[in-house]
């Protein structure tokens, strides 16, 4: 017990330091706005949208997301080439230095699957965005009805 305590403390410190370092990376320069989810009935997958702004001097790559409210979140892109609607997986989405990247209906979006319980319009849902450097950014998304066209109105 006594012998392992210092190791435990060291481990905890390393963990804390690690997470602090992670936060000190890309995510610290990124701010999110207009974050919303289009809620669909039943267990159907939902699309999540957000505008990401990078105030840093280096590009930041969004690589994934997770949420306690959903079993899975994936970065996707819809495209309409040749009059066909198609959805493809996206490995990484770059937010340019001193620029913005928009996840919006009909383009880049997060596909949320396996809702743990039905999400109701008006609820706020926490989604943690993951960046390539390991840093993360927790964002509260507002749940909107199926026929909404944006985060408000």
């Amino acid at each position: 017990m006594n012998r392992t305590a210092p190791f435990l403390i060291a481990g905890l410190l390393a963990g804390l330091l690690g997470s602090n370092l992670a936060h000190a990376a890309g995510a610290t320069h990124v701010t999110a706005s207009h974050a919303w989810i289009r809620v669909l009935p039943g267990a159907l997958p939902a699309g999540a949208y957000v505008v990401l702004r990078n105030d840093g001097g280096a590009p930041v790559a969004l690589t994934g997301a997770s949420s306690p409210a959903y079993g899975m979140a994936m970065l996707h892109q819809s495209s309409g080439a040749g009059g066909m609607s198609r959805m493809t997986m996206v490995d990484a989405l770059t937010i340019p230095a001193h620029g913005t990247q928009t996840l919006a209906p009909g383009g880049y979006h997060l596909m949320l699957m396996d809702a743990k319980r039905p999400v109701q319009p008006g609820e706020r849902v926490r989604i943690t965005l993951q960046f390539r450097d390991g840093s993360t950014l927790p964002v509260d998304f507002i749940a909107r009805p199926a026929n909404a066209l944006g985060d408000q109105g």
Partner: protein, 204 residues
């Protein structure tokens, strides 16, 4: 008093000429803003199942202006966007918009049961109808409008996407194909053309 012979003839022919002119206007010359497909696509015809589980055909929707769109409920982005846009367009029409029906035809009948479709379409608009059916019946309707869809390979979780046409086919009250819209076309143009079709009446 005697009418000159020529004038009498002209008076007799006038209603006939008027009727001809009106029917020509109704049939071919509405000033659409969207892509006019009048006469280039076949009249609406299908045998499918609606979102109440009832067998339906195109004849059940005669008298309504129709928006035909192919999609599937597990499509989280483009299909909801399109249906939300159609909902907003119908809202802009006001009361006359109640004479419009959105026909959402599933290209994923394996997952889209009438019950799933019912909850889905009603989340967008009460005037939306979900249609499903045998793969053969759905493919026949899709081919009729030179539309296409392809089921993509399943992921490791068994989930799959369906690539499908993004077109919206607009039919008049008589089931005739009139204009083609896409999610990218200006909403005002769609509202304009729907107004034209709603006011051109149910003749024929």
């Amino acid at each position: 008093m005697k009418f000159p012979r020529l004038l009498r003839l002209a008076l007799l022919l006038l209603p006939l000429a008027g009727a001809l002119l009106l029917s020509a206007c109704h049939r071919d010359t509405l000033p659409f803003k969207l892509t006019d497909i009048s006469g280039h696509m076949p009249d609406l015809a299908f045998q499918l199942t609606d979102d109440h589980g009832k067998a339906v055909s195109a004849a059940d929707y005669r008298g309504k202006v129709l928006l035909l769109y192919f999609g599937y409920t597990h499509c989280p982005d483009v299909c909801p966007l399109t249906l939300a846009q159609l909902h907003v367009a119908l809202q802009k029409l006001g009361q006359p918009g109640d004479d419009v029906r959105i026909l959402f035809v599933s290209v994923d009948p394996a997952r889209d049961t009438p019950a799933v479709l019912h909850a889905y379409v009603n989340a967008f608009d009460k005037r939306a109808v979900g249609l499903t059916g045998s793969p053969r019946a759905i493919e026949a309707l899709s081919k009729r409008y030179r539309s296409a869809f392809t089921r993509e390979p399943s992921g490791k979780d068994g989930n799959y996407e369906v690539t499908h046409s993004s077109a919206i086919y607009v039919f008049d009250r008589d089931g005739r194909a009139r204009v083609l819209s896409t999610p990218g076309t200006p909403q005002a143009d769609l509202v304009h053309d729907l107004q034209l079709l709603l006011t051109s009446g149910a003749s024929a």
